[in-house]
């Protein structure tokens, strides 16, 4: 089954649309009417977007959803999805792929904050940049992303992979401040530069191919390691949290 959703230009582009029902799982059940919230009102999807459904699906994995148009303020797309695929041609709003447990989301533009928050499985590929709290936990939570994979070709904002407890994250660009804060597991690879990385980590592995600026001082230096043909400085910590995580970085500078 192929679903194509084309969002029309909003009358007021500042009003966000909450579209947690746009998942392959929702299209599997035909009776389901897809509703979205525009501001504080609920509407059928047809009020804000044109959509067409072609073909039939016997399982969720047969469903491919293509989202076009003005989607930079459409939130919660793919929340709780368990299979199938969503492709977004433009930018996507916050909370894309929250709690997803399977399937694949591909974003050809950029993503806003909270991309893949608390996801358990599946795959997210973002060709542009991602906002703050990419692959992280939520306010007050103790465990962020638990499984699956996230790949961002651009850069990400602050608090990337906060509280991450499992899964794999690959960031091709740079990160903002406090990447991998409170890390509890999983593997994060940052090909660019990062700042104050892995603060208070207790377990997990983080590779920084660029430079880790303002390194947290409470990490124990273990020497150098050759990984993937690149020489890394190996750190253990965060000692302040009696942590046992591994941080590998090519360059690092402490706060002056």
């Amino acid at each position: 089954m192929n679903v194509i959703i084309t969002f029309r230009n909003h009358e007021n582009p500042f009003i966000p649309i909450e579209a947690e029902m746009i998942t392959p799982d929702a299209f599997l059940e035909e009776k389901n009417e897809i509703c979205v919230a525009v501001g504080n009102r609920s509407y059928p999807l047809s009020e804000v977007a044109d959509f067409s459904i072609v073909g039939e699906a016997s399982s969720v994995d047969d469903i491919e959803v293509l989202i076009r148009g003005d989607t930079s303020r459409v939130k919660r797309v793919g929340e709780y999805m368990s299979g199938g695929a969503i492709t977004i041609e433009g930018d996507i709003g916050m909370h894309c792929g929250n709690f997803m447990s399977g399937g694949r989301i591909e974003i050809l533009g950029s993503a806003d904050g909270w991309l893949g928050r608390e996801m358990k499985g599946g795959e997210i590929i973002c060709h542009g940049d991602a906002g703050d709290y990419c692959a992280s936990g939520y306010r007050g939570g103790r465990r962020g992303m638990r499984g699956g994979s996230v790949e961002v070709f651009g850069s990400v904002g602050d608090f990337a992979c906060e509280h991450i407890a499992g899964g794999e994250v690959l960031i091709h660009g740079n990160t903002g401040d406090f990447a991998c804060a409170e890390m509890k597991g999983g593997t994060v690879t940052i090909l660019g530069d990062t700042s104050r990385v892995c603060a208070n980590m207790s377990a997990g592995t983080c590779y920084v191919y660029g430079s880790a600026v303002e390194m947290i001082p409470t990490f124990e230096k273990k020497g150098t390691v050759n990984h993937d043909g690149v020489l890394f400085h190996h750190f253990r910590g965060d000692v302040a949290n009696r942590g046992n995580g591994d941080l590998y970085t090519v360059h690092f500078t402490y706060l002056q």
């Binding site: 939520y138 306010r139 007050g140 939570g141 103790r142």
Partner: protein
């Protein structure tokens, strides 16, 4: 105000000596009356269990500490979300819900009066503001005096009357209801990084022991003739082996009042631990319950722990720090100038954890081993042991041995060797439950004179009607029906109006705050005492004139004036 006639109500009203009579109740002008005019609104109760409105004598629902629990746990707000419905506001939160969440959920359980267990006097204003938005329950605030420098100095000098005068001024100024002592001396010591471990050990900053503070406060309380007794959270909460401290404290309590108890000891479950450490941790509910059985001047509440996620919050700062060292999760501590402190930690009580399983058993044992239900009231120290929405489950556990055994099979297997619970066969009856959830509370708080806790003409029309037909249910076997029945009233009536119907609040409501004003002779008016004024001006961050909570903050309120012996 509208008149209501309740027909065919199956009433259990322990204070009036009614145990299961089908009768009619007439309500007019917010009170229960002998009879109403010819055209009242008639509610046919069809023989459903009808009790006085529930009273929670120790809960944490309002004030800075509770609110800080809300700040600290945004994840708690992800649960318990309800949408706007009729007059009901949006609510959210599970263990520390919004004020309206507390109010609606208590109302659905049939509760109409709540006592906020611990309010720092300096921060009482916030508590009163939140009371206003807990509209379906009348409220009282227990005021913390455990580290009050003015009172401690007076006790140090052996001047009980001066201590009583300071208490009287403070209660009046902050519109409080009763004296609360939380880890007396210990929270004060914690301001200097220390704690006390024994009631007969001098506290570091004053020439006093916790036992002397407790005894002094009890005598001052009786000099002021306050409606409630001293409300005590004993020292050494949560420490293995603390039952000796608890029993020692109870041993110091004289019998000074013939209308009510002389000491109300709260959440005693947390104070009935044996062992020397966590490895040999065990229940000592039997000696504690025996002590209570021999001492009619003491009333305790359970402080039952139920499994699941919750937030602990208490004025006992050092205890919360010790808890943090066990959990290594987020925590907060707070010091309140010359008065007290507090701490907050989110916890998760787990069935697979031996210590948590023993704690669960101890609360039930206390309720079952204390022979007189008037002396052991039902609480969870909400939300410390569990959120109050677990009350129906606790009632079912107390009424059904079979349910206790079924739950016992699910908890940590080593619990059996450490607790006497499996050997206790007692099952409480409907009357006992009515005592432990409303009548006992009303008497212990001393608010029966205000028309609380009974259903005779002259009483406030606070009534809970549960969808329970007592003759059709066998409590020991059909515990599911007890849980369902107590979880949602058919009608909750507050001051003569139906406020909650089958779990939904149907009107906005307006509550009353009760506060006390002891009539102190001019010689003991501490407001003009130069020593006290100097202490205030030198050490407080606010001026004495800005300290009192003005009556405007109280909304609807009722002042209880007491004659004093000063």
């Amino acid at each position: 105000m509208a008149e209501i006639l309740l027909k065919n109500a199956y009433v259990i009203d322990p204070i009036s000596g009614i145990n299961g009579e089908v009768m009619d109740i007439a309500i007019s002008g917010g009170k229960i009356v002998e009879e109403v005019s010819s055209k009242p609104e008639v509610i046919d109760c069809q023989g459903c269990l009808t009790l006085p409105g529930g009273i929670d004598s120790h809960t944490h629902i309002s004030g800075t500490k509770v609110n800080f629990g809300r700040y600290m746990s945004p994840e708690d707000m992800r649960a318990g979300r309800t949408a706007k419905k009729g007059p009901m506001h949006i609510t959210s939160g599970y263990s520390v819900p919004t004020t309206y969440g507390n109010s609606y959920r208590y109302s659905a359980l049939g509760y109409t009066t709540l006592v906020e267990g611990a309010v720092a006097p300096l921060e009482a204003r916030h508590t009163h503001e939140e009371f206003k938005f807990t509209p379906l329950q009348d409220s009282c605030a227990n005021i913390l005096f455990d580290g009050n420098w003015g009172m401690l100095r007076a006790l140090e000098e052996g001047d009980i009357k001066r201590a009583a005068a300071i208490i009287a001024w403070t209660l009046n100024a902050v519109k409080g209801f009763a004296i609360k002592l939380t880890n007396p001396g210990g929270t004060e010591a914690w301001g200097f990084g220390k704690n006390v471990s024994c009631i007969n050990e001098k506290i570091p900053t004053f020439d006093l022991t916790p036992a002397e503070i407790i005894k002094g406060a009890i005598r001052a309380n009786e000099l002021l003739h306050l409606p409630h007794s001293v409300h005590l959270h004993c020292n050494n909460l949560g420490t293995p082996g603390n039952f000796t401290c608890t029993i020692g404290t109870f041993g110091h309590v004289p019998d000074l009042n013939d209308k009510r108890q002389t000491l109300y000891a709260t959440h005693v479950q947390f104070h009935s631990y044996g062992g020397t450490g966590w490895s040999d941790f065990c229940s000592k509910s039997e000696p504690v319950a025996n002590m209570v059985n021999f001492r009619p001047q003491i009333v305790i509440d359970m402080g039952q722990v139920m499994f699941g996620r919750t937030t602990t919050m208490t004025a006992d700062g050092p205890m919360e720090f010790n808890l943090y060292r066990l959990h290594h999760d987020k925590w907060s501590n707070h010091d309140v100038e010359l008065e007290t402190g507090s701490g907050i930690i989110p916890v998760n009580y787990r069935k697979k954890n031996l210590v948590n399983s023993i704690m669960w058993a101890i609360g039930l044992e206390l309720a079952l081993l204390v022979k007189n239900p008037w002396q052991c009231l039902l609480t969870t120290d909400n939300p410390n042991g569990a959120p109050f929405i677990k009350y129906p489950e606790i009632i079912a556990l107390l009424m059904s041995k079979r349910y206790r055994d079924a739950e016992f099979a699910m908890i940590h297997q080593d619990t059996e060797k450490r607790v006497p619970l499996p050997a206790i066969d007692r099952e409480l009856d409907w009357h006992d439950i009515a005592v432990m959830t409303r009548a006992g509370q009303a008497r212990a708080l001393g608010i029966t004179d205000l028309g609380k806790g009974y259903l005779m003409p002259g009483a406030e029309a606070d009534i809970a009607i549960y969808p329970i037909k007592t003759d059709e249910i066998d409590p020991s076997a059909e515990y599911e029906k007890i849980i369902q029945g107590f979880a949602r009233t058919e009608y909750t009536i507050k001051r003569g109006r139906v406020v909650s119907r089958r779990g939904d609040a149907i009107i906005d409501g307006e509550n009353t705050t009760f506060w006390v004003k002891p009539k102190v002779p001019a010689a003991y008016d501490i407001q003009h005492d130069p020593t006290f004024m100097e202490l205030f001006e030198r050490n407080y961050s606010v001026r004495m004139s800005n300290y009192p909570v003005q009556e405007e903050y109280l909304h609807r309120n009722h002042c209880i004036e007491t004659e004093t012996d000063l």
